[in-house]
């Protein structure tokens, strides 16, 4: 069973993604900020992370950098309400950039593509 870590400060979104991914057959862990996410990485092993950009304390980009320091092979999908950084995700070493939408099909397809 592949494991996904969902990082988002919005509780509703965490919940939505959790059930969507669980429906797809993955094991889902949710956290509400970057620090918790990095902690979780110490105690657990994940196959994929969906990472929000704007979060309190440390933002998504900082979190992403630290995650890649811990495990450079871990795929990360940036999942954000901002459209304007779309072209930059490659330089941040994330695997994909998905603009949040009520229609989660694009996100689900991207997850499926990465996890196989």
């Amino acid at each position: 069973m592949k494991k996904i870590l969902v990082v988002d400060d919005e509780e509703n979104i965490r919940e939505l993604y959790r059930i969507e991914f669980e429906d797809m057959g993955y094991t889902v862990t949710v956290v509400s900020d970057g620090i918790q996410a990095l902690d979780k990485m110490d105690s657990d092993k994940f196959d994929l992370v969906t990472l929000d950009m704007r979060m309190p304390d440390i933002d998504g980009i900082e979190t992403l950098r630290k995650m890649k320091e811990k495990d450079s092979a871990l795929p990360v999908i940036i999942c954000t309400a901002y459209e304007e950084y779309k072209q930059d995700f490659g330089s941040w070493c994330s695997e994909a950039y998905v603009v949040k939408s009520a229609d989660t099909s694009l996100l689900r397809e991207t997850v499926k593509k990465i996890l196989g």
């Binding site: 509703n12 939505l16 969507e20 304007e84 009520a102």
Partner: protein, 797 residues
């Protein structure tokens, strides 16, 4: 003896009586002959006189001889009886003259009627003045007392001749003096040079009994109208033109040597054959000296060989010449003064006009109004320059061209008459015209259209207009049809054979050209006109330069304001962008939750009332997300990230994406992709976005279905790719046509109005353009045109 003495006394008494009478010499001699013939009881008499040269004797009076011989019959001294007696100075009686070897018979003279003759020399001291003959029809052997009587009579005749000549000399002198006086009076009577020269010539000819007179004046450059020659020939009282070159060689020498020349006999000098050819055998040429300077030469000539000019004639003409010189100089001076005064008057008038025009020009800094004032001034009579038509052209430094700006003038004779009538009947000055605003009433004439169509490259080969600029000087074209400087197109356009151009020079730089002509009244354009026009052009050029600087400043000011506004706008947009980004984030998250969970609910509901409501929620969420997306796209400007892209593949991808929606809307798609298009260096994402916006627009236009035609083809000589979207909708209203690319403009109840503005912005960022038109067959057509760019290599076919 007594009888003869008595006769002698009576003859001498009668001769002295005749001598005191007031008749001329030949008549006196004839009467004396009568007295002698009667007194001596003979049948005829004749008198020969030695002429001025002293070399011949000529018959001057005769009784009993053929009267036609009088004045004709003459003998050289020593020849014939008359010549012999005149030379030997002794009396001679011949009973039978025909047998005498000294006798020379002149046929038809009448001498053959007489048998015998007696001749006596007429002596004045030692000088022989002539010979008197007494003739007898019968054979007559003269007695010595008869011979003495004739000699005494001859002496008396000498006295008569001398006294008569003396009187004649005095009379001549008097007449000369009175002529000189008359000439002097005449010379002061006029200041008109022509008239004066004519007077001098006429009086000189009459006084000297000459046949002609020429007066040459030394050229005075400042009086162009002044004639070099005045030539007169008198026949009766009529003055006729004669060849003014007569005596030119001589008068040239007179001018050089500053002294008079008298030629008594032109036959003596081979260099004077031209005189003979002109029929003159003797001439006098005298310089007209004024303060030691030769101001002219007067020459008189005669054709009368028996009366060549003498020293006293020369003195007479010299006297006349000295008076004439002063008079001529006075007249010339007067003419010079007059022309100076005229020039001063013209200048003053011109300055007044220029001043008026200057005042008029200073009323505006608006270039169009200024040009109108300038051209009106150039074409106005009275207070203007009075040309028929005027065209003003300005140089364009950027394109190096001369460009027609405005033309003023009537286009036909009728209009010319009307316009001039109008102006003169209203008696308006330029300022009045400006003040009433009448001047600026727009009258679009054919000439103005012609003027505005003129474009001339500033190269010498372009002819007179370009040369006016390049050489910075005016041109007065008097015969355009044969002038190599005038190009045919210009001549045909202007339809005149003469015109003038002057450069508009401001601060040493040619800023344009004024062209004028007198198409209607055909008045020739003079050098004076050109000079005045040049002054006018200089003044105009400064005014135009000022207006242009002013306009440039205004434009610059406007540009600055626009730039400032743009800056404020972009600052606003940046602030708006930041705010939108915030709102987006704040709204998108809840929308994701709402939409995401609703979608989940929808999965479990089939065909129920609730399903319908849930679908409404979902579609509204989708719309809100769309609005957010459009706004963000519009606000942020992202530089294109070009990658080589196959346009056809890109379009196919989009069509695949919208396959369902197109089918739902019952829209058929026809495509035609040109294989000739190369791969384009474009940002595929952005172009896709742009194309989708157009596609959506087309779909919405075809509410009840239709056909969407998409074709691609090379355009603009294979330098750009065209992507054309044609629909079969209602087309675009003219109002929409101007607004579709303005943000937030929409004709749809649910649109954001940002789709096409975003498209436009993307295409512009790719240095392309969008063309929008209504098709002839109905419906609208959008064409995106994208340049091939640097790597736009043509695909191998």
């Amino acid at each position: 003896m007594e009888a003869l003495e008595k006769t002698e006394l009576s003859i001498l008494s009668e001769i002295s009586h005749i001598s005191n009478s007031a008749i001329d010499l030949t008549e006196k001699l004839r009467r004396i002959e009568e007295v002698v013939v009667r007194g001596m009881g003979k049948d005829g008499a004749s008198v020969f006189l030695v002429d001025q040269s002293g070399k011949t004797v000529t018959l001057v009076a005769a009784i009993g001889l053929n009267q036609e011989s009088v004045g004709r019959m003459s003998f050289p001294l020593g020849m014939g009886i008359a010549g012999w007696v005149a030379e030997q100075k002794v009396p001679l009686a011949l009973e039978d003259p025909y047998s005498d070897p000294r006798f020379v018979y002149v046929p038809e003279s009448g001498i053959e009627n007489f048998k015998s003759l007696v001749a006596a020399p007429i002596m004045d001291e030692e000088r022989c003045l002539g010979v008197i003959f007494v003739l007898s029809l019968l054979v007559w052997q003269a007695t010595s007392s008869e011979l003495t009587l004739l000699t005494t009579t001859a002496n008396e005749i000498a006295g008569v001749i001398k006294s008569t000549q003396l009187i004649q000399n005095i009379q001549d002198r008097l007449s000369e003096l009175s002529t000189i006086y008359e000439i002097g009076m005449a010379l002061t009577s006029t200041l008109d040079l022509e008239q004066l020269l004519s007077l001098i010539a006429k009086n000189s000819v009459q006084s000297l009994r000459a046949q002609g007179c020429t007066i040459r004046l030394v050229d005075i450059p400042e009086i162009p109208s002044r004639k070099t020659f005045a030539a007169y020939n008198i026949a009766g009282n009529v003055i006729m033109d004669i060849d003014a070159r007569i005596g030119q060689t001589v008068s040239d020498r007179v001018a050089r040597e500053k002294r008079p020349i008298l030629i008594q006999d032109a036959h003596q000098d081979a260099a004077l054959c031209e005189l003979l050819a002109a029929g003159a055998c003797s001439l006098i040429s005298v310089p007209l000296l004024f303060r030691e300077k030769v101001i002219g030469i007067i020459t008189v000539y005669t054709r009368d060989e028996s009366r060549p000019f003498r020293e006293n004639d020369l003195q007479f003409l010299t006297t006349v010449a000295s008076g004439a010189a002063v008079a001529v100089e006075n007249a010339a001076m007067y003419e010079r003064m007059e022309s100076l005064a005229m020039e001063a008057r013209t200048r003053a008038q011109e300055l007044a006009i220029l001043n008026d025009i200057g005042t008029a020009m200073s009323t505006t800094l608006n270039l169009d109004r200024l040009l109108r004032i300038i051209l009106t001034a150039a074409t106005m009579g009275g207070t203007g320059l009075g040309f028929n038509r005027a065209i003003l052209l300005l140089t364009n430094e950027r394109t190096d061209m001369l460009q027609g700006m405005m033309g003023i003038g009537p286009t036909s004779w009728e209009e010319a008459g009307r316009a001039w009538g109008e102006v003169s009947s209203k008696h308006k000055s330029l300022m009045e015209w400006i003040q009433t605003g009448e001047l600026f009433e727009h009258r679009d004439s054919a000439l103005n259209a012609l003027a505005r169509s003129i474009r001339v490259s500033l190269t010498p080969a372009e002819g007179v207009m370009a040369l006016t600029v390049l050489n910075k000087r005016p041109y007065n074209i008097t015969n355009a049809s044969s002038d190599p400087l005038v190009r045919r197109e210009l001549r045909d356009a202007l339809a005149v054979n003469s015109f003038a151009t002057v450069p508009l020079i401001a601060k040493d730089r040619v800023i344009g050209v004024i062209l004028v002509d007198n198409m209607f009244n055909q008045r020739p354009i003079t050098e004076g006109d050109i000079r005045f026009l040049t002054m006018f052009a200089n003044q105009s050029a400064l005014a135009i330069e000022n207006a242009i600087i002013h306009t440039n400043l205004e434009t610059m000011n406007k540009d600055m304001r626009a730039l400032h506004e743009q800056l404020v706008q972009s600052e606003k947009m940046a602030a708006l962008g930041a705010m939108m980004a915030e709102i987006t984030h704040e709204i998108r998250n809840p929308l994701v939750s709402i939409g995401g969970f609703t979608r989940r609910l929808a999965k479990n509901l089939q065909h129920s009332e609730e399903k319908k409501y849930i679908d409404i929620i979902l579609s509204e969420v989708t719309r809100l997300e769309g609005i957010i997306h459009d706004n963000l796209s519009y606000i942020k400007e992202v530089a294109p990230q070009p990658v080589e892209t196959d346009i056809a593949a890109l379009i196919r991808e989009i069509l695949m994406l919208y396959e369902d929606e197109l089918a739902q809307r019952r829209i058929r798609v026809e495509t035609n992709f040109s294989p000739a298009l190369p791969g384009l260096m474009i940002d595929a994402q952005q172009i896709k976005q742009a194309a989708i916006n157009i596609l959506k627009n087309a779909m919405e236009a075809m509410e009840n279905g239709g056909t969407l035609t998409i074709r691609t083809y090379p355009s603009d000589a294979e330098k750009e790719a065209a992507i054309e979207f044609g629909d079969t909708g209602p087309g675009i209203s003219s109002k929409a046509m101007h607004n579709v690319f303005n943000p937030y403009y929409t004709t749809k109840p649910r649109g954001t109005g940002l789709g096409l503005p975003i498209t436009n912005r993307i295409i512009k960022a790719h240095r392309g353009r969008i063309e929008l038109r209504n098709k002839d067959t109905g419906g609208a057509s959008f064409t995106i045109k994208l340049p091939y760019g640097e790597r736009g290599d043509k695909k191998p076919a």
